[in-house]
Symmetry: C2
């Protein structure tokens, strides 16, 4: 029907029948929409529009919307882990490393709150459907755990417990800040790093 196989868009760009790299383009567009318009605007149809393709095209690359969101979330977890690692490099003391890791975690959540919310969205929390996501998501936990496990005389069970406690504090605080249920500036330590340092101080004795 269309012997030319090229279509025109409003902006005049030529589009081939085959996009060629639709999958990464969709993921990129997803992050952009997430950043600019929020998670409510993140629909498959909007993604199709943004990549210049019809609504059904994404189904060649993702079984359903959840699978696409899981892929976006996985990218997010990778970036989160990277940010944490980078932030802690150069620190050798256990306490300093922990503080850096947590601060990076919370900073990431606050700075990419729509993405962070997606990463911990209930729709994706059933990891049985997204096995690779489960692996990636465990990375940030592992980073904290590793620091605690490297101490002398570290009891494995005690380490697991402390890791969970720290992660909970950190995750909860991130959540509360994102939801505007807490105003971090009402504390003397005006920024997140200061607050974290103070919070870690609360159980510093037990971490030694």
């Amino acid at each position: 029907m269309n012997q030319n196989s090229a279509r025109e868009t409003a902006c005049g760009k030529k589009l081939k029948y085959h996009h060629g790299a639709l999958r990464p383009a969709l993921l990129e567009a997803a992050e952009k929409i997430l950043l600019e318009d929020g998670i409510d605007a993140l629909s498959l149809r909007a993604l199709a529009r943004a990549t210049g393709v019809t609504q059904a095209a994404p189904y060649s690359h993702f079984r359903d919307k959840d699978e696409l969101l899981a892929a976006v979330a996985e990218q997010g977890f990778q970036r989160l882990a990277l940010a944490m690692v980078e932030s802690a490099t150069g620190q050798t003391a256990a306490r300093a490393r922990i503080e850096r890791l947590i601060t990076a975690y919370i900073r990431f959540a606050v700075g990419n709150d729509q993405l962070f919310r997606l990463m911990f969205s209930p729709a994706l929390s059933d990891m049985r459907n997204h096995p690779t996501l489960a692996m990636t998501a465990g990375k940030s936990y592992a980073l904290i755990s590793a620091v605690l496990a490297k101490r002398e005389n570290a009891d494995p069970e005690e380490t697991r417990f402390q890791t969970l406690a720290i992660w909970s504090l950190c995750h909860g605080l991130a959540q509360l800040i994102m939801d505007d249920r807490v105003n971090i500036e009402q504390f003397g330590t005006a920024d997140i790093a200061g607050f974290v340092r103070r919070a870690v101080g609360l159980f510093a004795a037990q971490l030694a």
Copy 2:
């Protein structure tokens, strides 16, 4: 057009043109659907169906879906605060009260996870649109804060900080358990109360 003004349903019940108490009926139906079918099934149209009314009827009582959800969430916060208070009655020691409050908080989250997620849903987190919700939501924070503030020589700023730390730990843990990112049973203390007691122990020294 309909001179009788009564309609028949499949089950044969007579329905008046005016429901009479639609607002509370909607809220009740919402909690039921939330409990039985999850938050994804909670649509205005489903609520209308459940209360035997047409799709547009709810708009006489709520400006939009968010306003209805906010009302449901507010009921949830009230029940949460009640559960916390009841769970802590009889305890006088600060540490025991804190432990009870937190345990009740987490138990509520785990036992009503769909409702809890709604209560902390991002859609509702912009409290400017739901002023009464904001008040009710602050209750659980106030309960923890009050215990800490009643200590001798309690520095107000330090109290605020500790309250936030405890609340974060508690909220984060609840979130992680709900999302199945943590298996509480892998800790010696098999239940939530035991874990909380141990966690509070981490900064017990600072709470005295």
